[in-house]
């Protein structure tokens, strides 16, 4: 084979074909090589998960803001770029920090790592800036989602929301994701604007939603009324809020929702029940911030007087550990309801007609033929508990048929329930001539002014001309209540309260008095008899006699009659012997007295003294001459000593 010469080759058809095949092989080889190179490099650095966000969607020109980029990747990050247009300018170098997180999901360890990048950006020009940051991983550049920032003139930008980006790598789950679908998210879509516990204390709060303490963990219900006192029929506005802890770190599901019980009220909704209730503000309770949602608002009209209860609303929270629910319940409220004041109450006022009413009335036509009908339209409008029926004026010759009622009721200004009700009556006039329809009046009580007023519509008259169809028989027109007695035209005479015998306690006593009197009488007689007996017995006792004898002796010795004194001294001594020794010495000879007394236990000296005294007394009594009273007194003195001794002995 001849060597190939460089220069212009000598080509043949066969040689050209071979050359073309070689070139083709070379191109395909190069292509395969490139593909192989790309695949291997790509395997070395898998595409990262990127998420970009800014701390404010709207900024004033000249203002700084931050763009956060979170890149989750296992590859080596070799470069980051802001990727901004001419509306903004990057300030300084971005701050880059790495993060790592480990989660166990379904028993499998999942590891993540990456970088968090923060760009400081200056809003340079008014308009809309689009920023699409990029990350270079393993030599390959990847773009994140584009974020737009509206740049407005100075002073027109809203207050800056606190840092919405989790600076620690987003390890915390979305705290509000559990409420989505049932109660929504108080800050909208968390992907666009994630919430984190950092910076919570900077969230503006409303003091009117603040409570002393949270009523539950994570979330709770709170109910409130606008007034604790009302009259029957007065609107009480009930609001029920759901509080959601913004630092809640777990998902929640709700079930078993029970609405409030308001059986003593007529209930009218002031807002629609929606699965995504309105966020009305934030509340600071303790050191935590709670999002507050208004989930129910209703007007309640009390049906009766008393302390009426509003039962709680409740819901169950499904626990993550199982199907057991944790219950949350709003407060049980009470409204003190009274009758509207009786003073100034107009005639015809119906309890419950409370609010502010107006009424207009029209009658068409004003002239009809006999037997014809007229249409009366009454429009009752206002706020409050509008009556659902009107009692038409009952006049002779005017037959009101059942009305047709239409209503347009709903919440009005300042949460006042109201609207209008239109009553259309067909009125049959059964007499000829000018028939007065009269006034339709609805008295009402205005709770704002605390006064009564009357909504009145004057219907005027209708002229009924002769002719036309014959008057219908009105169902046979038989009087359902025949022969009613005549009207009384004067009031009855004033009546003083009648006295009743049974009202006096003394009457009931008097009933028993005759029998009781007899009992008292018989008892007294028996008592008297018994007393007499006792006195008699008492008087016959030796002690009593002794006392008596001593008193007689004292008296006799005080006088001048010595014989009488000696006789009484002797009687006293004899009685004292009976009491002291138990023996009667009256029938015993004087000289035997001492011996008898000794036998009966009296000491001998005393017995001798007694005998001597008795002997002296006897001698003095029967002496032919009057004795000396001084001697008798001296004798009584000795006799008393003996008596005293006998008593003791």
């Amino acid at each position: 084979m001849r060597p190939r010469a460089w220069g212009k080759p000598k080509t043949t058809h066969r040689g050209r074909t071979a050359l073309r095949g070689a070139l083709l092989m070379q191109r395909w080889g190069l292509l395969f090589a490139l593909v192989f190179l790309f695949v291997t490099r790509a395997r070395a650095a898998a595409p990262p998960e990127l998420r970009a966000s800014v701390d404010s969607d709207v900024v004033a020109v000249g203002e700084e803001f931050e763009l956060h980029l979170k890149a989750t990747t296992t590859g080596e990050v070799s470069g980051v770029e802001l990727g901004a247009d001419a509306h903004v300018a990057q300030i300084g170098r971005p701050s880059v920090g790495s993060y790592q997180e480990m989660n166990i999901r379904n028993g499998v360890l999942v590891q993540k790592q990456g970088v968090n990048v923060t760009f400081r950006v200056n809003a340079a020009k008014i308009g809309t800036a689009t920023l699409r940051p990029t990350v270079t991983v393993g030599g390959v550049r990847f773009g994140a989602n584009a974020v737009t920032v509206r740049i407005v003139p100075q002073g027109q930008a809203p207050p800056r929301r606190p840092n919405a980006q989790d600076p620690f790598g987003g390890g915390l789950p979305d705290p509000l994701s559990g409420f989505r679908g049932l109660f929504g998210n108080p800050f909208g879509d968390p992907d666009d604007n994630p919430t984190s516990p950092r910076g919570m204390l900077d969230i503006p709060t409303d003091a009117k939603y603040a409570l002393q303490a949270p009523r539950g963990k994570g979330t709770f219900l709170h109910a409130g009324i606008d007034k604790p006192n009302a009259v029957i029929g007065e609107q009480v506005t009930l609001s029920i809020y759901q509080y959601i802890d913004l630092e809640l770190n777990r998902e929640m599901e709700f079930n078993d929702v029970h609405d409030v019980s308001t059986s003593d009220f007529v209930r009218r909704a002031l807002m629609e029940e929606t699965p995504n209730p309105k966020l009305v503000g934030n509340a600071r309770i303790g050191d935590r911030i709670w999002a507050v949602r208004l989930i129910r608002k209703m007007a309640l009209f009390p049906l009766k007087a008393g302390d009426l209860k509003i039962g709680p609303m409740s819901l169950g929270i499904v626990k993550s550990t199982g199907g057991v629910t944790d219950k949350r319940e709003s407060e049980t409220l009470s409204v003190h309801v009274t009758d509207p004041p009786a003073a100034g109450r107009p005639p015809g006022y119906a309890i419950g007609d409370v609010g502010r009413f107006e009424m207009t009335g029209t009658v068409e036509p004003r002239e009809i033929l006999h037997g014809g009908i007229a249409t009366v339209t009454l429009e009752l409008s206002g706020t409050g508990n509008l009556p659902s029926s009107i009692v038409p004026p009952a006049h002779q010759g005017v037959d009101w048929l059942q009305p047709d009622m239409k209503e347009q009721m709903g919440p009005g200004k300042n949460d006042r329930y109201g609207g209008k009700r239109t009553f259309t009556y067909v009125v049959r006039l059964t007499s000829e001539g000018t028939i007065e329809l009269g006034d339709v009046a609805i008295p009402f009580y205005d709770p704002d002014t605390r006064t009564y007023d009357v909504a009145r519509a004057s219907l005027g008259s209708v002229v009924v001309k002769p002719g036309g169809a014959a008057e219908p028989s009105a169902g046979g027109s038989s009087d359902p209540l025949p022969n009613l007695p005549p009207l009384r035209i004067t009031r009855a005479a004033a009546v003083t309260p009648r006295a009743h015998l049974t009202e006096a306690r003394t009457f009931w006593f008097a009933l028993a008095a005759p029998s009781l009197s007899f009992v008292v009488f018989a008892g007294a007689r028996a008592a008297r008899r018994r007393l007499k007996e006792r006195v008699r017995t008492y008087n016959a006792s030796p002690d009593t006699l002794l006392k008596q004898r001593i008193q007689e002796a004292d008296a006799a010795c005080g006088a001048t009659d010595a014989r009488a004194a000696d006789a009484s001294i002797a009687r006293a001594l004899e009685q004292a012997i009976i009491v002291g020794a138990g023996v009667n010495v009256r029938a015993i000879a004087t000289r035997q007295i001492a011996g008898t007394l000794i036998e009966h236990g009296v000491a001998e000296p005393r017995a001798r003294a007694i005998e001597e005294l008795l002997a002296e007394c006897e001698a003095a009594r029967f002496a032919p001459t009057e004795g000396d009273s001084a001697v008798s007194r001296e004798r009584w003195k000795r006799a008393k000593e003996c008596i005293s001794g006998l008593k003791k002995g």
Partner: protein, 282 residues
């Protein structure tokens, strides 16, 4: 004999003391000064065929606490007139019956009482006719119990006087029995005591019951054409017909929104708005 005289004097003295003590009860406060004028307007409206206006005025008088048998009577007439005019509102028959029942209770004259009873008859006949037509029974007035009938035989004061007399006779009988020396007198005394003492107890019980009825018994009239008897939980009693409109019944207990009633043998609860209490002169 002297003892008997003393007994009688004693009882009479006690009775007089009791009457004087009771007569010192202050009279009811006078109604407002415009009552007569309002009554006149109401009567004019009723006489002029304006039953609705008359009802409003009569009800206003009732709201102001006017207790007058003629006002009650005319109020009943006003409601009845509205029924007759074909402008009947639900409950008009019951309210008419209430006015007449109230007039009957308050009546001082036999004529008014007679008229009220006559009007009540007309109202209840109409109610019975309507109930018969709707198939809910025609009973509008239940029979009173035997006890009630006996108590109503005489007035409270009549029972009280009878009890006092029986007591006096019993006392005299006792005394005669104890003091008489003749056997015949002793037997007379014993017999008088044996008869009069139980009678005294019975009359006293009747007087006491009549007094309790007067003080504690509250009556009302059904003013709702469809007042269903309920149990204490507010659930309709099974197989119980609605109470007849205009029926007079006894109220035992009034709680928030519900009233416990007794109507004949029926013991039930009804919504408070379905009954209207009969005013009493107190």
């Amino acid at each position: 004999m002297r003892v008997i005289v003393l007994f009688v004097a004693f009882v009479l003295a006690l009775t007089l003391v009791g009457r004087r003590a009771h007569a010192e009860v202050p009279a009811a406060p006078a109604a407002t000064e415009n009552v007569d004028a309002d009554f006149a307007h109401a009567s004019e409206a009723l006489a002029g065929g304006r039953a609705g206006d008359a009802i409003a005025l009569f009800e206003a008088l009732a709201d102001r606490g006017v207790v007058d048998e003629n006002v009650s009577f005319d109020r009943g007439l006003a409601y009845a007139e509205r029924v007759r005019m074909g402008a009947e509102q639900p409950g008009d028959l019951g309210r008419a019956a209430h006015g007449f029942e109230e007039a009957r209770s308050l009546a001082q004259s036999k004529a008014l009482e007679r008229d009220a009873v006559s009007a009540l008859g007309a109202i209840r006949t109409e109610v019975a006719r309507r109930r018969a037509r709707s198939g809910t029974g025609t009973e509008v007035e239940p029979n009173p119990s035997v006890g009630e009938l006996i108590v109503r035989l005489a007035s409270e004061d009549a029972w009280a006087v009878a009890a006092a007399l029986a007591s006096l006779i019993a006392g005299i009988g006792l005394y005669v029995r104890a003091e008489a020396t003749r056997r015949r007198m002793k037997i007379s005394g014993s017999t008088a005591f044996a008869v009069a003492a139980p009678l005294c107890v019975a009359f006293a019980l009747l007087a006491w019951t009549a007094r309790e009825n007067r003080l504690t018994m509250r009556e009302a009239v059904v003013v709702n054409p469809n007042a269903r008897p309920l149990d204490a939980r507010g659930i309709a009693l099974p197989n119980a017909n609605p109470l007849p409109e205009g029926a007079r019944l006894r109220t035992l207990n009034v709680s928030t929104g519900s009233t416990e009633i007794q109507w004949g043998a029926l013991h039930a609860w009804v919504p408070s708005a379905a009954v209207r209490a009969i005013a009493r002169r107190e």
